[in-house]
């Protein structure tokens, strides 16, 4: 799921970047603007759109996302750092606006849940393999020939090889 997200996200990023650079060229063919737009997008990819919540404000066409992108652009022009811009957004919209949720007690389950599930799965797998091995060992023991049977096998083999030599 996560990987899928990554993949679709990076496709979206590529499309987005392609789109914006073309648009920027059309609007103002200045290299400076392309750099600015890239910076706007870079920060926008860290911010969740609160209208369509599974998208970043870079991906979303919702009006709020457009407004927030403009806000980001203005703040970059005003010389604010990425950290200052993100803090500004968090102060207004809360941690929820962070597309990468911060690690804190309320998000422990989110961050560590997959590892717990993995550990549980691994445990089940190990137990399963062990019990299977035990069964196959027992079966193998049953299949072992007793010394009587072994003697019979040997005599039969001897007999048959004697037949062949005739």
């Amino acid at each position: 799921m996560r990987l899928m997200n990554r993949v679709s996200c990076s496709i979206a990023v590529l499309l987005m970047l392609a789109g914006t650079s073309v648009m920027a060229m059309e609007a103002k063919p200045m290299a400076k603007d392309t750099v600015l737009e890239e910076k706007v997008m870079e920060i926008s990819f860290e911010l969740r759109c609160l209208v369509c919540q599974n998208q970043t404000i870079a991906d979303s066409d919702a009006e709020l996302a457009v407004d927030l992108r403009n806000q980001v652009r203005e703040m970059i022009v005003a010389g604010k750092t990425e950290e200052e811009i993100v803090d500004y957004m968090v102060a207004r919209y809360g941690d929820f606006i962070l597309y990468r949720p911060p690690v804190q007690p309320t998000t422990y389950l989110l961050w560590f849940g997959p590892f717990i599930l993995f550990a549980v799965g691994l445990g089940v797998l190990v137990m399963n393999i062990r019990s299977r091995r035990k069964i196959s060992d027992e079966e193998a023991a049953e299949e072992q020939l007793s010394s009587d049977e072994l003697a019979r096998v040997k005599s039969l083999l001897k007999q048959s090889s004697g037949d062949e030599s005739k």
Binding site: L50, V51, L64, D67, Q71, R92, Y93, G94, F96
Partner: protein, 190 residues
């Protein structure tokens, strides 16, 4: 036997999670402003553009700040309730007219009645961003010190007003400070 129970148990657990998920309201993002000062603003009024309205002018009052727009359908649905609030004089409602056209907003109020004491006209939605508005309508309950006590995302309902907003308003009007309101009143809003 146990072997056949495991998938059943897993199914029930999964179904339980999914069922609980149906009741979640992902739009109701907790506001970072609860218990903090309402952001300052200074905007022209909707009806009288030459006059302005600021947060500081509202200090000393318990009021609702209702974010709305003429293009917002849910706001139309909410409107009669705000009119009732006005007529019953239970709590003053100030408006934040959000990303609207002045003429459109005025037309709506002329046609259907104006439940607001004053409307601040936020043409570009700047104050909306400062208040963390994600959509209309949203309603903030603000106390005498200008602290945000509660935020309702989406339309107000008679139920929310009766059980949460109005009891809080009553206590806030008596209190000087927000920490004097009873815990039950706050919990009724959760």
């Amino acid at each position: 036997m146990v072997k056949y129970l495991i998938p059943l148990v897993l199914f029930v657990v999964l179904a339980g999670f999914l069922f609980a998920g149906l009741g979640l309201k992902p739009r109701e993002v907790p506001s970072p402003f609860i218990g903090k000062a309402a952001p300052d603003f200074n905007l022209p009024q909707l009806m009288q553009p030459e006059k302005s309205i600021s947060r500081d002018e509202l200090l000393g009052k318990v009021y609702l700040l209702n974010v709305w727009a003429s293009w917002c359908v849910t706001c139309k649905y909410e409107h009669p309730l705000l009119m009732e609030l006005k007529n019953a004089r239970l709590v003053e409602v100030y408006g934040l007219n959000y990303k609207d056209k002045r003429e459109d907003a005025r037309l709506v109020l002329r046609r259907t009645g104006d439940p607001y004491v004053v409307n601040a006209y936020d043409e570009e939605g700047r104050v909306g961003i400062d208040y963390g508005v994600t959509g209309t309508p949203e309603t903030f309950l603000i106390d005498k010190n200008g602290t945000v006590v509660h935020k309702v995302i989406g339309a107000l309902t008679p139920d929310i007003l009766r059980n949460c907003i109005l009891p809080l308003v009553e206590q806030l009007k008596m209190a000087d400070r927000q920490n004097q309101i009873s815990r039950e009143a706050v919990e009724a809003c959760v």
